[in-house]
């Protein structure tokens, strides 16, 4: 096992990794910007290194500074957390070149899955169903027209390098094709420095259901059940739950087996998430995230498995800590991402939490780096906390979540708890009947993207 891990992240994500390291008695090195000198991840790590000023380019995305911090602190491994450099294949390679273990999949898989067109092609070749559409990048408007003739309308044009909704255009009719083509390419270029786009059938009311993958170097490849992350706004997940209220044991096993076979064939190592759309009884591959996922705790709550500890074990060459056929999904878990944003407009509202009291009690977990008097800085993302509940069944989980949201005391910081309460009180959510457009359609007063 590793002796000392540098955590190349901040906030609750850094704390999450720190906890797993300390559980396994691995020493930790925190990195931080000048703005985070008093942050909890710095305080709780065994060592810390200030790597740059507040802006992320100069600190948390500053590859030379991070590698140097690992060197001067003598870390033998590096965990990228999520966000920042966690899906940067070049970074993973640079880390490895410096004889530091990158805690994540092989760089080649980060690279393949980072290219959405290539990812789709590979997964399709491995037998995973994909949304009908272009096999590769579209080189001209004429190719797009030809594809539309094949798969029909509505279709969606997407940036190959994209994510988070930028560079995506829904096309309803033939007449809108040219405008969408130009707009999607322009946004792709502006957003990602690459105007490569592809297109596929547009599913009107799909659910976002993703499967947690874990593979070690001893031949164990498994999926640890799914998460339903359909409650989204502008492609940002707000609420996640496991299991999905929409799929049954049979569908789960069928698609799960397909995914495991593909991931095994790929030679994948570590944690990963296969994101699928689920529409009208069918699953379609969207993308694979080659890292720990923000919403991983819901899987931890229903399986009792610490995913980050498993990730560390796998990266150190050890087998997973449980028999792949001995794990079971027990009960139901739901997570709310609470952010320092206006609950109506979702505009970020940085500030200081004068009083901070997180909920607790049976089945309640809060992953957060906040404490009374701490600040949500305008330099970084606005996540205050992930509130996760577990219950013996979905009803118990819902009751606990409603209670816990109500119990959260955050004074002095606008936050999304009121929006989460509206979601939880909505009869559709209580019934488990929602799709990826539901939140915007029902609660945010905004048309589909």
């Amino acid at each position: 096992m590793f002796r000392k891990v540098l955590i190349a992240n901040r906030g609750e994500g850094a704390l999450r990794v720190l906890r797993a390291c300390h559980d396994l008695e691995i020493r930790t090195v925190a990195i931080h910007s000048t703005a985070d000198a008093d942050a909890m991840h710095v305080r709780l790590a065994d060592e810390s290194v200030c790597i740059g000023p507040a802006d992320v380019q100069s600190s948390y995305l500053n590859v030379p500074a991070i590698i140097t911090a690992a060197h001067v602190s003598g870390a033998d491994a590096l965990h990228p957390g999520y966000g920042f450099l966690s899906e940067n294949a070049d970074f993973a390679q640079i880390v490895a070149l410096h004889d530091i273990t990158f805690i994540g999949p092989k760089a080649e898989h980060i690279s393949v899955m980072g290219d959405k067109v290539e990812a789709r092609r590979r997964m399709r070749a491995l037998g995973v169903p994909v949304v009908p559409g272009a096999e590769g990048a579209l080189s001209s408007l004429e190719e797009l027209r030809a594809l539309a003739g094949e798969i029909g309308f509505p279709l969606i044009v997407k940036a190959a390098a994209g994510g988070g909704g930028r560079g995506m255009k829904v096309v309803e009719t033939e007449g809108d094709l040219e405008g969408a083509w130009q707009l999607a390419r322009a946004e792709a270029l502006a957003g990602f420095g690459d105007d490569t786009v592809y297109a596929e059938r547009y599913l009107a009311t799909p659910r976002h259901v993703e499967f947690q993958i874990l593979a070690d170097a001893h031949g164990n490849v498994m999926q640890l059940g799914e998460r339903d992350c359909s409650v989204q706004r502008r492609h940002q997940k707000m609420v996640e739950e496991a299991p999905s209220p929409a799929i049954d044991a049979d569908a789960r096993r069928r698609v799960g087996d397909t995914i495991v076979a593909a991931v095994r064939e790929l030679g994948y190592l570590g944690l990963g998430t296969v994101e699928m759309l689920y529409d009208d009884g069918e699953f379609y591959f969207i993308e694979m995230n080659t890292r720990l996922q923000v919403e991983h705790p819901v899987t931890e709550m229903v399986t009792g498995i610490d995913l980050v500890c498993e990730q560390l074990r796998v990266a150190a060459g050890e087998p997973v800590s449980f028999a792949p056929d001995a794990f079971a999904v027990t009960g139901h878990a739901i997570e709310c991402r609470i952010t320092a944003e206006d609950p109506e407009t979702l505009t970020p509202q940085p500030g200081r939490a004068e009083v901070y009291h997180a909920p607790s009690g049976p089945g309640v977990r809060v992953d957060s780096a906040m404490f009374g008097g701490s600040e949500v800085s305008p330099h970084y993302d606005s996540l205050i906390a992930k509130l996760i509940v577990h219950g013996r069944d979905r009803d118990e989980a819902l009751r606990r979540l409603r209670r816990a949201l109500r119990e959260y005391a955050i004074d002095g910081l606008a936050n999304t708890i009121p929006l989460h309460q509206r979601i939880l009180e909505h009869p559709d959510f209580a019934a488990g009947e929602y799709d990826v457009h539901w939140l915007e359609r029902e609660l945010m007063g905004r048309e589909n993207p």
């Binding site: 000048t34 000198a37 008093d38 710095v42 305080r43 290194v49 200030c50 790597i51 740059g52 000023p53 600190s59 030379p64 500074a65 590698i67 140097t68 911090a69 060197h71 001067v72 602190s73």
Partner: protein
């Protein structure tokens, strides 16, 4: 982080408040923290503005009512962090005081340096980065030793 959380804007605000409201002394205590500010008392109304109380009091001690420390303690480099002549590290890395092992250090205490003179080398990612003097003057203090790691922002030396 155990250092004394000196809130300079707060102290300035309190000092201004004292001037505006014509207070002579102000002392606040919250548990184990306290701060005390005092102004020279004027016998009558409109008086010229006093110098502000020490805007950056000695860390680790309650704000001193007297003037700013004119002879700082060399064992406490953090006292100088906001000194105009402070040379701080522009990056995380390994610091060297000389161009090569065994060579003369670029600077020693008492040396006169000109703006742009080389003071140190910091190695990061196998590249050697020169740290140059941001102003001319006398090297008053050097806080770092050869071949040791430094953080971003670490205080390296004082040029007075």
């Amino acid at each position: 982080m155990p250092n004394f959380p000196v809130d300079e804007p707060l102290l300035r605000r309190l000092a201004e408040l004292m001037n505006e409201t014509d207070l002579a002394e102000l002392e606040l205590t919250f548990g184990r923290r306290s701060v005390r500010l005092a102004r020279g008392v004027r016998p009558s109304a409109p008086a010229p503005l006093d110098p502000l109380p020490d805007p950056d009091p000695v860390p680790g001690e309650p704000a001193a009512p007297g003037p700013a420390p004119s002879s700082p303690d060399p064992d406490r480099p953090e006292e100088f962090a906001n000194h105009l002549g402070a040379v701080t590290s522009p990056m995380v890395g390994t610091l060297y005081v000389a161009a090569a092992q065994g060579a003369e250090p670029f600077i020693k205490v008492g040396d006169e340096v000109g703006e742009g003179d080389q003071l140190f080398i910091i190695e990061a990612m196998k590249t050697m980065n020169a740290v140059l003097a941001h102003r001319g003057g006398t090297v008053a203090q050097i806080f770092v030793e050869n071949a040791t790691p430094v953080e971003f922002g670490a205080l390296l030396a004082i040029i007075e």
